[in-house]
């Protein structure tokens, strides 16, 4: 039997390269979903990992760090928050 393909549609799925089923500790939404304020997940609402290896939606952690009460510390471990790799980038530029 010979099959002729007339049309085809590509469908792609994506997810952040993170442990499965994990949620952002601040908004409690899945990493693959958005922070509480965004509508669409993905590059517009990315994740940010700290030097301490704790991750949050970028908007969530920025909102927290902006608070004086945060003392700019990670909500999980209270180490001073520094985005992972931010030093390396500074050194390159």
């Amino acid at each position: 039997m010979k099959v002729t393909i007339k049309h085809w549609r590509a469908v792609a799925a994506w997810r952040w390269d993170m442990p499965e089923d994990d949620v952002c500790g601040i908004c409690r939404n899945p990493y693959d979903s958005t922070c509480s304020k965004c509508k669409f997940p993905g590059d517009e609402c990315p994740l940010l990992m700290g030097d301490c290896n704790h991750s949050f939606h970028m908007h969530c952690i920025f909102h927290w760090i902006k608070q004086e009460a945060s003392q700019e510390r990670c909500p999980m471990c209270r180490q001073v928050w520094k985005a992972k790799g931010s030093d390396a980038r500074d050194a390159e530029s």
């Binding site: 601040i26 908004c27 009460a69 909500p75 209270r78």
Partner: protein
Amino acid sequence: MSATRRLQKELLKLQEHLPPGISLVQADNFETWLMDIKVLDDNPLYRGDTYRLKFHFSSSYPIEAPEVTFITSPTTPKIPMHPHVYSNGIICLDLLDRQGWSPVHNVESVCMSLQSMLTGNEKNERPPGDADFVKSNRRRPRDISFYFHDEKV
């Protein structure tokens, strides 16, 4: 808005499962919830009693700490005796203080912390200056900078 979304998630989880000794009394809106807690071990200070907690959430929750106080009701007539709990229900706990709060905490973890704060207590006492504080305080708990008298309790 973000507070509502986060609280909706917490509510669903609480309705599904609650840790022992903790119950959800009222959560008809996303501003004020009532929770009951019981001390599970046989601590004679709290044996057989149930205590009611009132949570008040601002629109910035969980970035901002909830305001949590003990309140009395016909079924929960007592404010637990503890050197960090004033007789008007105001609680002095670092976790609830501006400096000690973290947005990864939630209603359940706060209830469990308060439960364990009571469990570990052996002093049948109010904080120093309780009578004066209760008489004169008009501030909201979040605006009070507690002086932590004793880090060990």
